[in-house]
């Protein structure tokens, strides 16, 4: 099972931004959501998750607010900023280009267009 350390550095950022795109979430929520959506393939350990969240916050792409969790505990909720949304868009484009390119090299995608 791939662990977070095997993820490309930028990929984790992309996953977090994408996860936060729909609604604000606390760190635990982000990790659970990524695991759930990826059908348990991607498990983000806290050792990568929190430094990444803090890094993104210092870069101004996400911001944090204290709120109450579903079980009524004080928790830190992260949400995308405007700059973060823009960043997500460019990162998605980059990702598409990169994955398409890697796919081509590996010969996994038939060159249907040509």
């Amino acid at each position: 099972m791939p662990t977070s350390t095997e993820l490309l550095q930028g990929t984790l950022d992309l996953l977090i931004l994408q996860t936060l795109a729909t609604r604000s979430m606390h760190g635990w929520g982000v990790a659970q959501r990524i695991q759930q959506v990826s059908k348990d393939v991607l498990q983000i350990g806290q050792g990568s998750l929190y430094p990444a969240l803090h890094r993104l916050e210092y870069k101004g792409w996400i911001r944090s607010d204290w709120g109450n969790s579903e079980n009524n505990r004080r928790a830190k909720f992260y949400s995308l900023t405007r700059a973060g949304k823009k960043r997500l868009e460019t990162e998605l484009e980059d990702w598409d280009r990169l994955s398409a390119a890697v796919g081509l090299v590996l010969g996994r995608i038939p060159e249907a267009s040509s």
Partner: protein, 726 residues
């Protein structure tokens, strides 16, 4: 003190408060994560204890997680740096002896290096303060009596008309001369002349006013001067109204048209306060001085792409053609010379400067390896501590950084103390330095030199910081008592060997220097300095403007001094031994009666001195044959000379010269000078050279013998100097 400053700095940044809040928030956030994980585990059916235990295990190191989050903060490294610094300072406080000796060692080395660098920087490295100084050259003739290039008016005009390698040429008078500022606050100044084109040639603009106009640089042009920055600031208080004002130089009113920039240096390095236009008159230059014109110093700017050697080669045909104007006697003696202005200004000082720099570099190396040794010893003593820190999770890089921080702190402290020391050393050096060290007035600690010091300190820091950082323990040595790795031993051995090598070089150099100095001190001078005083009297040249007036004054002084109690001998001379300026001539210019004229260029040079009779008695130079001069000789018609032993041997090759007659070059064909006697040799060309042949001319009480404006009073006295001087 430093830590207090640091905490103030932190308070200023409010980092402390913010950081504390952030830490507690981070703790809460991580705590929340663990709780959620516990809850999830419980939902899977674990007992609360089991759930929490598993959650914590899954989570891993809380402390590492926190640190990694904190590392994300921009400027995080400042915090760790401060932490390192604080830790280092605490360490230094614990081992004061180490810290103090390391800082002092470094301070000594950096101080000495900086002081010496300040002195040699203008000599070796700093560009001359002119526009494109690399293109500037000193041009002219040299001969055995004058090693610095010169031209005379006739040749200069010819060069101007025919030269090709130079983009521009300009001349200045051969020597600055004393002149007087006549006003309510009179001052004795140094005056110099140069052509209007000189400043343009050098690429210098006046700081105030303007340069000379071409029409002012003409014979009988309007009387104008430029003044030095120092005179403007010192005498006129920097008054900008000085431009256009008339000042009285040597009794003549002249208008100030410009002020030279601060630190302006004449290409001859003369310290002139007032510059007058040279006002060369081509017609006059073809008549005065035997038709050759006045002597001058000429400087030129090479055309782009022309090298010094090419310029010299291109001037050679012109020079060859000009030799036809000179008597054949001069042909072999006169050389054409084109040399970079830098070479002329720096002279022989360059070699000495490199030696000084090398010596001080050795000192720096010794100090660096000393401090490295200290650091290594301290590192060995601290291996336990380092091992403990490593065991607690400090990375190797972190430990190395700690070592580097300590080294850099020491180096910086050393640099600060060293700079203070350097300022003191520099002042001492300037005060003690012998005459003839060029640009000494320009030697000061400036930004560049401070930068060199800081770089030196940092290099030192990195070098000895690395030596300690590199042999940090690989494994855990908490229990080990001694773990001197082989690499460590080899390193230390290399350091010690380097130190010994550098020390030996320095010691040998110093010992040789001392020995030479001792020899110079102990050698026989050939004359007495004990109880002998010399003095020179500065007279306003425009008042004592004839040889007769000049002589009159000095003869009166002689009479007055002779009447003083305790005075045993009084004499005048145009120069005094052992070194410094003196007159000179060549053997080939002296004909001995009854012998053929010597071939040109034969035999080398002699020292000449014009002295009054008591000179020999005043300096206690024994007359070994014939007699010295007497008071009666002074009023007699016939001129006399005394030769020193070397000159007598050379001119008369063993015969008794007394009563024989000689004729120096330039005297009338029928005028012969009788040799009165032979004096013993005395040091006459510096303490480090052998005695040279010398001719003493009698200075009679006739105006013709007082044409030189050099007059040194020599007084021998039985009383202490202070009494006589009073």
């Amino acid at each position: 003190m430093i830590s207090e400053w640091i905490s103030r700095f932190r308070f200023f940044l409010r980092r402390d408060l913010l950081a504390r809040r952030r830490t507690s928030e981070l703790d809460e956030e991580l705590q929340f994560h663990v709780e959620q994980a516990t809850a999830a585990n419980m939902a899977q059916g674990m007992t609360p204890e089991e759930a929490r235990r598993n959650a914590l295990i899954e989570f891993g190191g809380v402390e590492q997680a926190r640190e990694r989050c904190q590392e994300q903060e921009p400027g995080w490294w400042i915090d760790t740096l401060l932490q390192d610094v604080r830790y280092a300072l605490r360490g230094f406080r614990r081992s004061k002896a180490f810290a103090v000796s390391a800082v002092l060692t470094l301070a000594l080395a950096i101080g000495a290096t900086t002081a010496v660098f300040s002195v040699v920087d203008p000599i070796l490295f700093r560009a001359l303060p002119y526009a494109n100084p690399g293109q500037l050259v000193s041009v002219g003739f040299t001969h055995s009596l004058e090693q610095e290039e010169f031209l005379t008016g006739k040749f200069y005009e010819h060069w101007l008309a025919n030269q090709r390698p130079f983009a521009a040429m300009a001349s200045q008078g051969t020597m600055s001369h004393p002149c007087d500022l006549v006003e309510n606050h009179p001052a004795e100044l140094e005056c110099l002349t140069f052509q209007a084109a000189m400043l343009q040639l050098l690429g210098i603009s006046p700081v105030l006013g303007r340069s000379f106009l071409p029409e002012e640089d003409q014979p009988h042009g309007p009387p104008v001067v430029m003044i030095s920055y120092a005179l403007w600031q010192g005498h006129y208080g920097g008054d900008r109204q000085i431009i256009g004002q008339e000042i009285n130089i040597d009794g003549k009113l002249v208008q100030v048209v410009g002020v030279l920039p601060q630190g302006f240096q004449f290409p001859t390095l003369e310290p002139a306060d007032v510059v007058q236009p040279m006002a060369l008159d081509a017609a006059v230059q073809n008549t005065v001085n035997g038709g050759f014109g006045d002597a001058m110093r000429t400087f030129a700017r090479l055309k782009p792409g022309v090298s010094v050697a090419e310029a010299q080669a291109e001037m050679q045909p012109i020079f060859k053609a000009e030799m036809a104007w000179l008597p054949a006697v001069m042909w072999d003696l006169t050389r054409l010379n084109v040399r970079p202005l830098r070479a002329r200004e720096v002279g022989d000082a360059g070699r000495v400067a490199w030696i000084l720099l090398g010596a001080v570099a050795a000192v720096l190396l010794i100090a660096c390896s000393n401090v490295a040794g200290l650091m290594a010893a301290r590192g060995a003593a601290r291996q336990r501590e380092l091992a403990v820190r490593a065991a607690l999770g400090a990375s190797r890089w972190r430990l190395a950084r700690q070592g580097l921080t300590e080294a850099l702190l020491l180096a910086l402290a050393g640099a600060v103390v060293g700079l203070v020391l350097a300022e003191g050393l520099l002042r001492m050096f300037v005060a003690l330095a012998p005459a003839g060290v060029p640009f000494l007035s320009k030697a000061h600690l400036d930004g560049r030199i401070a930068a060199v010091t800081v770089v030196l300190a940092l290099v030192c820091g990195v070098v000895f910081g690395l030596t300690t950082a590199l042999h940090q323990p690989d494994g855990l040595v908490v229990n080990a008592r001694s773990t001197l790795s082989r690499r460590h031993v080899r390193l230390r051995r290399a350091l010690v060997m380097g130190q010994i090598a550098a020390s030996v070089v320095l010691l040998a150099g110093a010992a040789l220097l001392l020995r030479s100095f001792q020899r110079i001190e102990d050698q026989r001078l050939g004359f007495t300095t004990h109880g002998v005083m010399t003095a020179q009297i500065a007279l306003p040249g425009f008042r004592y403007n004839t040889d007769a007036k000049w002589m009159e004054f000095h003869l009166q002084v002689e009479q007055a001094v002779r009447r003083l109690p305790g005075v045993t001998a009084v004499a005048f001379s145009d120069s005094v031994p052992p070194g410094g300026w003196h007159g000179g001539t060549r053997f080939s210019d002296i004909t001995v009666q009854g012998r053929p004229r010597p071939a040109p260029g034969e035999g080398g040079t002699l020292v000449t001195r014009r002295v009054t009779p008591e000179y020999f008695r005043a300096l206690d130079i024994p007359v070994i044959r014939g007699r010295g001069f007497t008071d009666e000789d002074r009023t007699a018609d016939a001129p006399l000379v005394v030769l020193n032993r070397l000159a007598a041997a050379e001119l008369f090759s063993g015969e008794d010269p007394v009563g024989k007659r000689i004729q120096p070059f330039g005297t009338h064909a029928d005028q012969w000078i009788t040799v009165a006697g032979v004096a013993d040799d005395a040091k006459n060309s510096g303490l480090t050279s052998d005695e040279q042949p010398e001719i003493y001319f009698l200075q009679r009480a006739v105006a013709d013998d007082w044409t030189s404006r050099h007059a040194v009073l020599v007084v021998a006295s039985a009383l202490p100097e202070a009494t006589v001087a009073g």
